[in-house]
Subunit: 366 residues, 2 copies
Amino acid sequence: MSLILTFLGKGGTGRTTIAIAAAKKLSSLGQRVLLVGQDPGPAFGLLLGVATSPDPQEIGANLKVVQLHSTLLLERAWEEVKNLEAQYLRSPTLKNVFGQELGILPGMDTALALNAIREYDKSGHYDVIIYDGSGDQATLRMLGMPEVLSWYIRRFRKVVEDSDVWKSLSPFVQPVTSAVLNVSWTGESFAKEPTQQANTILEQGTAAIADPNRVAAYLVTSGDTAALATAKYLWGSSQQVGLTVGGVLLNQIPATEPLAAEFAPLGISALPKLSSGDEWEPLIDALPDFKQATQVPRPITIDTSTRQVQLFLPSFDKKQVKLTQYGPEVTIEAGDQRRNIVLPPQLRGQSVKGAKFQNNYLTISF
Amino acid sequence: MSLILTFLGKGGTGRTTIAIAAAKKLSSLGQRVLLVGQDPGPAFGLLLGVATSPDPQEIGANLKVVQLHSTLLLERAWEEVKNLEAQYLRSPTLKNVFGQELGILPGMDTALALNAIREYDKSGHYDVIIYDGSGDQATLRMLGMPEVLSWYIRRFRKVVEDSDVWKSLSPFVQPVTSAVLNVSWTGESFAKEPTQQANTILEQGTAAIADPNRVAAYLVTSGDTAALATAKYLWGSSQQVGLTVGGVLLNQIPATEPLAAEFAPLGISALPKLSSGDEWEPLIDALPDFKQATQVPRPITIDTSTRQVQLFLPSFDKKQVKLTQYGPEVTIEAGDQRRNIVLPPQLRGQSVKGAKFQNNYLTISF
């Protein structure tokens, strides 16, 4: 299992440079590091000073780098989909569609990236994976995807099973599936087995992202007002996808008392400018210990004995946080993120008795 | 019909500031302008100097601004989906799922934004819509979506209709649909009518994006090597989604001969720094005429008499451009974008006779 690190912050604050410095630092300490670049453009390779490739290549001791290419990842994913279909269907039909034809739709880049990171993690080849993504809302959507997608599957399977179309068709589905499928299924739902496999992957992903020993983000900011405000906003928004933010990296600004207070209880680290002529040492030396993410408040804590759920929501004020219970679950809305809280059996299906927002924490009582 | 403008370039090159300046300029010339901010964070409002809202609000003569909120847009879109379902199904089932529960998956932000822009355009309230998006690959995926999604629908409808599952189930579908649907359909495909409506919207979108009188992008760059390389890369990648790039805005660097040569035949404009104290005039005065997008090479031209298709693919070299004909259409791959070319009836289904890449143009002969 790898530690997965990523950097969040406004564009132009030096996230990629810092990701490279972190990769150099951790690999020099003997950790096997993979640096993953999301954007397919030339900036990543230029900052790195090497010609990158779409598969991991060694660029130093313990240090590999990969620049993701969505078209290639989609081709490979498509082959897996076709193999899966061939496992289940007697006469596969997807074989006539070629991976080389498939265009990229919005969201595919980060979904494919998350899957690639999952596979790099599973490979056991890396102690640390550093993901250089867009560092904004899109990165949070990516890391929130396992939890959100699980919810959609959970909620809409029930809707489909309750629907008239399904009820009218399902008597025919059982005989039809046994005619066209390689495998025989028992039970209500036609699609139960493949969705169960998907659910396991999604649950493992959700659990990994919620564990700061597995996944952590660090904020990057310059002294610019908009950059500072963006870093704070991303700090709060990260909690909403269950992601722990471990600390703040101040790019070319001093670590002052007011800044420390602004981001407390996170640690702040002042980083120097990368000096020209590839002098990485001063920047590398100023980087913090990335293990500090395990010491900060968790996005969510559930206490079944007091029947309370506590959400850490820094940077938001009371009126920016919305708690609702429309559906079967409790929904928290903040920072243009919506989170449906999966409750333990003791609290599941219970009504909210009270909620209070104080000192960056939303406390919900059941 | 509005002119839709957007700005592409590396993060931190000043795209949002330039988008605001463009909005101020065009509204002062009497055009009714809507400035649309994609990122829900605080930077947009800070740079603009106003508290923004998720619906258009007037901030000056002829000038409205909106900061998109995906959670809200998804709620509204969900209501429309429910209405559509209620039109077709005798007993709707989606009514039990509330828009306020729905989380945001990767890709939804830009898909919802594109739909919002479509509606603002259709409203007739705006002469110009300026979209301040992420300005990178994600913006190109958004603008490429109508064409790519049309392809998926076209290609996979056939796959579904040819599949064993569909062939075995379809005898039951006709009686079942007439039992559960409000409307009666004839013809093979169960889903033909709603997909036809979707296709019309997608085709109109594709046509609008391909027309520089309707949609145009401008590149923004600083003097930084990585920013310049990113701008060039985005210029080429834009062609692959059918988007015309109208010119280059040089943020705080002089317009030199080498730069003009680098981006020829595009015009380059040197922009001054935004002076402190909200002195927008010098920046506004330095902006080019955004109509110049109609004067540059189109991403694609098809000549049925010579049986040739010409693609303008600046910034790529020969080995970065891949032409394949796996499926029923011709596929061009470059810049991590894949484009399936819709050919006119005279060339449809024909084999490629030859292809040559010269002076930024890929010429394909049939």
